[in-house]
Symmetry: none
Subunit: 245 residues, 2 copies
């Protein structure tokens, strides 16, 4: 996956803490290629390390560059994340469309990058102008407070979500045969058991309603996704309720 994965380029990041938090966000979803353009407080930065909490390999492998051009020298498709879209004549993509674009390029053997701006002001127009397209996270227009690491997190999530969508869904392991769906014959026996016992305590009353009530109860058992363990427990509960007398 890593060969296809986009590089995460932090442009003029201010706080080391945020660089560390971005590294964590990346690694949560399997992104490992971090590139820093002009980090304000120099590099390496102990505050980044402290915040990375285990994502140190991402920080250790991070490369530092003077400009976006150098940072993304090997990338032929670059996306600029911005909160505000500022009249640049450039496609504005949702994270979903952006990642789809990245994947299409990667599938063609191209390397890709996503640019994230400084915490306070975001990317400048000159930065955005270098990108192939703009990515804008569709936040609530009445309240937008995504920080740098959250924005990285959402893009990384979107990447992994789409990558996973390609693979066949992971089989749900059901090692215990008792958790397998109960075969119809077992559900039938369960329904019989309950009907018999409830008949014995005059549950199906008044008599003219009994057929309808019995059908409803049968329908209930057969609509339920019962496992074999469930069936066994429902037999046991009923036996014990009757025996409890």
């Amino acid at each position: 996956m890593s060969d296809l994965a986009p590089a995460i380029v932090l442009v003029r990041p201010q706080l080391g803490e945020n660089i560390g938090a971005a590294a964590r966000a990346m690694l949560n979803f399997g992104l490992e290629d971090m590139r820093l353009v002009g980090p304000r407080d120099g590099w390496p930065n102990p505050a980044a390390r402290a915040m990375a909490a285990g994502a140190d390999p991402v920080l250790e492998a991070a490369t530092v560059h003077e400009g976006i051009g150098a940072a993304a020298a090997d990338c032929s498709f670059m996306l600029a994340t911005t909160a505000r879209v500022r009249g640049l004549d450039k496609p504005v993509l949702t994270p979903e469309a952006a990642v789809a674009g990245i994947r299409a390029r990667a599938a063609a053997g191209e390397r890709t990058a996503i640019l994230f701006g400084p915490e306070r002001a975001g990317l400048e127009n000159d930065d955005v102008a270098r990108a192939s397209a703009i990515v804008s996270v569709p936040v609530n227009p009445g309240f937008a407070s995504l920080n740098l690491a959250q924005c990285v997190l959402l893009m990384a999530y979107e990447w992994r979500r789409q990558m996973a969508g390609d693979a066949s869904p992971p089989p749900q392991s059901r090692p215990d045969p008792m958790h397998a769906p109960a075969p119809a014959i077992e559900v039938e026996r369960l329904a019989d058991h309950w009907e018999d016992r409830l008949d014995a305590v005059q549950f199906f009353f008044p008599p003219e309603k009994a057929p309808y009530m019995k059908r409803s109860l049968r329908n209930l058992w057969s609509r339920m996704p019962l496992s074999r363990a469930d069936v066994q427990m429902l037999h046991g509960a009923l036996r014990q309720l009757v025996r409890g007398r």
Copy 2:
């Protein structure tokens, strides 16, 4: 949108800061219905307010409850977020599939909730047993460090992404309210009723297995797509079995 949006239920949250950060994460993507179950440091909490940074309306409207049943009393579809899936026989969904499920329920007029556990330990099995399904964010198995607010953020993002993706399907007509899915509070009461009566007849035996058996039984009720009519019938059947003595 807010009528269809899921409630965010924070179960036994520890730090006020994280409640505030969760409120921000929610509001970023237009979710406003926060419910708190047993917040450790009481409520209201000044630390939450300080962290909310403008998402105060979410905190001010937040409701506090003693248990999950009460917090999600009006919700008939409840999802439990967990990092680890722990051998409960319950569907495990990606955020994408979970939100699709929420939207389908919402389109049918049902209210829904997503449960998030305490920061340190996450939801307990007894909490998860109350949910209809499990949501697990597909993080890197070699590095998973999502915090509470990040997890809320990803679910909220996924919600908004799908809402933006297409118009919600037209509401399905459900003429008979008794055939509507039972709200969580009714399922909770049904589970209580059965547990009490089965306790009285020593069903949960031997004692060291009782907690496991009780959880399995709760898990059974919450996994089943019970209608209100089903719940009523299962109450009635139990009453009659006990009375039959």
